[in-house]
């Protein structure tokens, strides 16, 4: 995960605390796994500001069913339906299940 973003997120958590804070991601595949790991248990590459830092934030994906269901149909159709056609949703749900089981 981008080192600048790691630093920015660490600063936000330090400032406002992890309570009432969650992360919603938009990346597929390996980027998703790395981002979830970085934001929960720490940077697996040990290169960034979150190396060895377990933020333990709740992490979701914008296109997983439990998040999609919270977005109004109009907005979903306008903003996200196109992405649903590009990204493989069953694969995404499967990847998230694997990542959460491993974590």
């Amino acid at each position: 995960m981008d080192l600048e973003n790691q630093a920015a997120i660490k600063a936000i958590v330090d400032e406002i605390g992890p309570e009432n804070l969650m992360v919603v991601l938009g990346m597929p595949g390996e980027g998703l796994r790395l981002a979830v790991e970085t934001l929960t248990t720490g940077d697996p590459s040990w290169a960034g500001p979150l190396a060895g830092v377990s933020l333990g934030l709740p992490v979701f994906h914008i296109l997983e069913e439990k998040v999609r269901s919270q977005i109004s149909e109009d907005i979903y159709a306008e903003k996200l339906l196109m992405m649903e056609m590009v990204l493989d949703l069953p694969q995404l749900e499967s990847d998230l299940a694997d990542i959460r089981t491993a974590g």
């Binding site: 981008d2 920015a8 919603v24 980027g31």
Partner: protein, 41 residues
């Protein structure tokens, strides 16, 4: 799920971009505290 919650929206150029995530979640009641679009290489 999102009403009154603070949210970090982290998108990706090859997936869903950050501003799009932020827009959808703001409409669902979230407060976006950070949003960015990464470029995974």
């Amino acid at each position: 799920m999102f009403k009154g919650k603070k949210v970090i929206a982290l998108g990706e150029r090859d997936g869903v971009p950050g501003p799009l995530i932020a827009e959808c979640l703001e409409a669902a009641g979230a407060e976006i505290v950070f949003q960015k679009t990464e470029c995974f290489v």
